[in-house]
């Protein structure tokens, strides 16, 4: 029979503690209050100056900006159909939430997240229940003009973003499909992240995380609308 070496155990424990602390690096932070506190105390971000351009160019540039603005406004108001949230867009949303680059609200339950999202964006899609998940933070994002509720979860210590929108607002991407227990999932991989998208109970659902797509589908199966 071999006996445990106390020095080895202590080293293991040391490494384990260091590893557990390192996971706090992905703790999301809400910078909105800080940004508000700093506003007014620090000059606005400098913009490109046109003063050195000849006047005719300034006039042309201004006209182009105006035209682009008008076309953009027209497209926004006219785009009432479903939109496509690309894999790259969704991966960016996940990365921004995890890195704390966008304002999020710290929450510890889906009920709390829904309450805070409803206060902030009345009429926005609500989040489903996901048993056995550790809820960290939530936020509301828009893809084109369609609202999407996002919640950051932790599964075995790995951050996973679950996003929900009305199915009528979103298109599913033309990527490979996998079927699990009668449900079809669009599966893709972007920047080392797996992503599964599906529609259930009139909702569009997207799960993203650095883990196998099968695990994300396992989680999606637990979702209760």
């Amino acid at each position: 029979m071999t006996e445990a070496n106390p020095q080895e155990n202590s080293l293991d424990l040391d490494e384990a503690i260091a590893g557990r602390l390192a996971r706090l690096r992905s703790l999301p932070v809400d910078t909105s209050r800080l940004d508000q506190l700093l506003r007014g105390q620090i000059p606005e971000r400098p913009h490109h100056r046109w003063t050195s351009w000849p006047r005719p160019f300034q006039a042309i540039a201004a006209s182009v900006v105006l035209l682009v603005g008008l076309v953009g406004a027209f497209l926004l108001t006219a785009s009432s159909g479903p939109v496509l949230a690309s894999g790259i867009q969704m991966a960016q949303v996940h990365a921004d939430i995890v890195a704390g680059r966008i304002p999020v609200m710290q929450v510890d339950s889906i009920a709390k997240a829904n309450q805070m999202l409803a206060d902030k964006s009345p009429g926005a899609p609500s989040l489903p229940q996901i048993p056995q998940s550790h809820v960290m933070a939530c936020c509301m994002k828009s893809v084109h003009d369609k609202k999407m509720a996002c919640v950051l979860l932790k599964d075995g210590g790995i951050p996973v973003t679950l996003s929900v929108a009305n199915a009528a607002d979103m298109k599913l991407p033309a990527v490979p499909t996998m079927t699990r227990n009668g449900t079809s999932y669009r599966v893709q991989s972007v920047n080392g992240l797996s992503m599964v998208m599906t529609e259930r109970s009139g909702k569009w659902l997207c799960l993203i995380g650095a883990m196998p797509a099968e695990r994300l589908m396992d989680m999606a199966e637990l979702v209760q609308f």
Partner: protein
């Protein structure tokens, strides 16, 4: 430095790091309100001092050093001690941790530690002495090298090493009662 240049430098270098500054302040103070104020003061100082930042050096380490000095000033202003006391480190490093239950088995430490929520770990960090907390936050949470952390904290390299060791031991002791209560470990 011209104000427009300073502003541009601030937005290019410092602004993208504000979440990291706020996170460190949050883990350090344990209060989001206090952390917002501490991070605000730190970033305002960084804006004023942006001309002193040496290009090619680590902007995060530079910001953390400002955060550190700001924190010391704030603690001094309310009459709290900022230095670590001898009793905080005297028993380190090889001595068994204070009050530690040596009969408890941490067979799979990584597994056990992963069962703690972030809130429980943060709560345990809050109970550590200020200087040890700083050291663990820089080295383990932010992933800084010992030499880099020593520079931010203005202490010798050996001090960082012993504080890391001592900090891990203290953290284990803070987490142990929770682990036993929740049956994460066997007695």
């Amino acid at each position: 430095m011209h104000e427009e240049q300073a502003t541009k430098g601030f937005y290019n270098l410092v602004w993208p790091q504000r979440a990291a500054v706020l996170r460190l302040a949050r883990l350090l103070t344990g209060s989001s309100h206090e952390a917002d104020d501490l991070a605000q003061e730190t970033l305002l100082k960084a804006f004023k001092k942006i001309g002193t930042f040496r290009e090619g050096t680590d902007v995060k380490a530079w910001l953390f050093a400002i955060l550190r000095n700001t924190r010391i000033d704030r603690l001094r202003a309310v009459g709290l001690k900022t230095e670590i006391s001898l009793s905080d480190i005297a028993a380190e490093p090889a001595a068994p941790s204070e009050g530690g239950n040596q009969s408890v088995e941490w067979d799979h430490p990584q597994e056990v530690l992963n069962r703690f929520s972030d809130a429980q770990v943060i709560d345990a960090i809050q109970k550590l002495p200020e200087e040890i907390r700083w050291t663990l936050l820089l080295v383990d949470v932010e992933g800084m090298g010992h030499a880099e952390a020593a520079e931010v904290l203005q202490v010798p390299l050996g001090t960082i090493k012993s504080r890391v060791h001592r900090g891990h031991s203290m953290l284990r002791d803070r987490l142990l009662p929770v682990a036993v209560e929740r049956r994460f470990v066997r007695e």
